[in-house]
C-alpha cells in the first residue's frame, strides 16, 4: 500500500471534521492546518510501519492473507478499540 493522495487525505479530513462537528467535540485552539498535519503524520506512520505490522502476524496468516485482508483485520480492531473508548 502507498500513502494516500492529497485528495484522499482531504476526504479523510472532511470525514473527521464532520464527525467532531456533529458530536460538538472540543478541539481547543487547533486549526485546520494542525489537523491536516496530524492526518498526514498518521498516514505516513502507517506506511512506515507496515512491514513491522506484517512481521507481527503469525507466519501462516502472514503468508496466506492478502495485505488488504490483513489491513481489514487491523481496521476492525482499531474501530472496536475506538468504540470501547
Amino acid at each position: 500500500m502507498a500513502v494516500l493522495s492529497d485528495s484522499e487525505r482531504l476526504n479523510v479530513y472532511s470525514q473527521f471534521s464532520s464527525a467532531f462537528s456533529a458530536r460538538r467535540d472540543s478541539i481547543g485552539t487547533l486549526n485546520k492546518t494542525d489537523l491536516h498535519a496530524a492526518i498526514n503524520a498518521i498516514d505516513q506512520w502507517i506506511e512506515d510501519n507496515m512491514a513491522s505490522f506484517n512481521a507481527a502476524l503469525p507466519e501462516n496468516v502472514r503468508t496466506t492473507l492478502t495485505i488488504k485482508q490483513k489491513v481489514e483485520m487491523f481496521k476492525l480492531i482499531v474501530s472496536r478499540k475506538w468504540e470501547l473508548g
Binding site: Y13, S14, S17, R24, S26, I27, G28, T29, N31, K32
Partner: protein
C-alpha cells in the same frame, strides 16, 4: 432617508438550496438539543452554498448594503473563518437560465471566540451597482452565502463547522 434601515432579515429556516450539482449546501441543524436554535452548518473543507430569495423594499434608496451575519463556531474556540456572499438580480432575468450571481463575492473574515457557542457577528459590505448585481428598489433577487473553506477570498483556518443563525441586511 433609508440609511441604516433594515432591508431584510434571513434566518436558517428561510434558506433555499440551489438545485445545481456544482453547489454543495450546508446542513440545517439545531444548536444542541436543549435550546433548539436552528443553524446552518457550513463545512470547513469544501465550500457550501445557501440561497435566500426576497424582494428589495420600495423604501430602499439605492445606497450600498451591509450584511450582518450572526454566527457561531460549532466547536472551535479560536482561528478564523471566511464568509462570502453575492447578489443575483431576478427581475428581468430568465429564471430558466443558470445562476448568474454577481462576481466576485464580497466577504468577511470572522474570528471564533473563547466559547464555541457564543454568537458573533461579521459584516459583509456591498457598494451599490455591480457588486449588488444592480438590484434596486422593487427588484426580486437572490442572495447566495457561502463559507470560503477553500480560501478563495481569505484565510479560513478554523477547524469544524461555522454556524449561521441569521442575517440582517441594512442599507449603508
Amino acid at each position: 432617508m433609508a440609511e441604516g434601515d433594515t432591508m431584510a432579515i434571513f434566518t436558517a429556516t428561510s434558506a433555499e438550496h440551489l438545485d445545481d450539482a456544482s453547489y454543495m449546501a450546508p446542513a440545517i441543524d439545531t444548536r444542541g438539543a436543549a435550546n433548539g436554535h436552528f443553524v446552518l452548518d457550513f463545512d470547513d473543507t469544501f465550500d457550501e452554498n445557501i440561497v435566500f430569495s426576497a424582494v428589495m423594499p420600495t423604501r430602499y434608496s439605492g445606497r450600498g448594503i451591509t450584511l450582518v451575519l450572526h454566527m457561531a463556531a460549532t466547536t472551535a474556540v479560536a482561528n478564523d473563518f471566511v464568509m462570502a456572499a453575492a447578489f443575483e438580480k431576478i427581475s428581468d432575468f430568465d429564471i430558466d437560465s443558470s445562476p448568474s450571481f454577481a462576481t466576485p463575492d464580497q466577504f468577511v473574515t470572522i474570528t471564533a471566540v473563547a466559547n464555541a457557542g457564543t454568537v458573533i457577528t461579521g459584516n459583509i459590505t456591498f457598494a451599490d451597482g455591480s457588486q449588488m448585481d444592480s438590484v434596486t428598489a422593487g427588484d426580486a433577487y437572490r442572495l447566495r452565502v457561502h463559507r470560503d473553506s477553500d480560501n478563495t477570498y481569505g484565510t479560513d483556518n478554523m477547524a469544524g463547522d461555522a454556524e449561521l443563525l441569521s442575517i440582517e441586511m441594512k442599507e449603508n
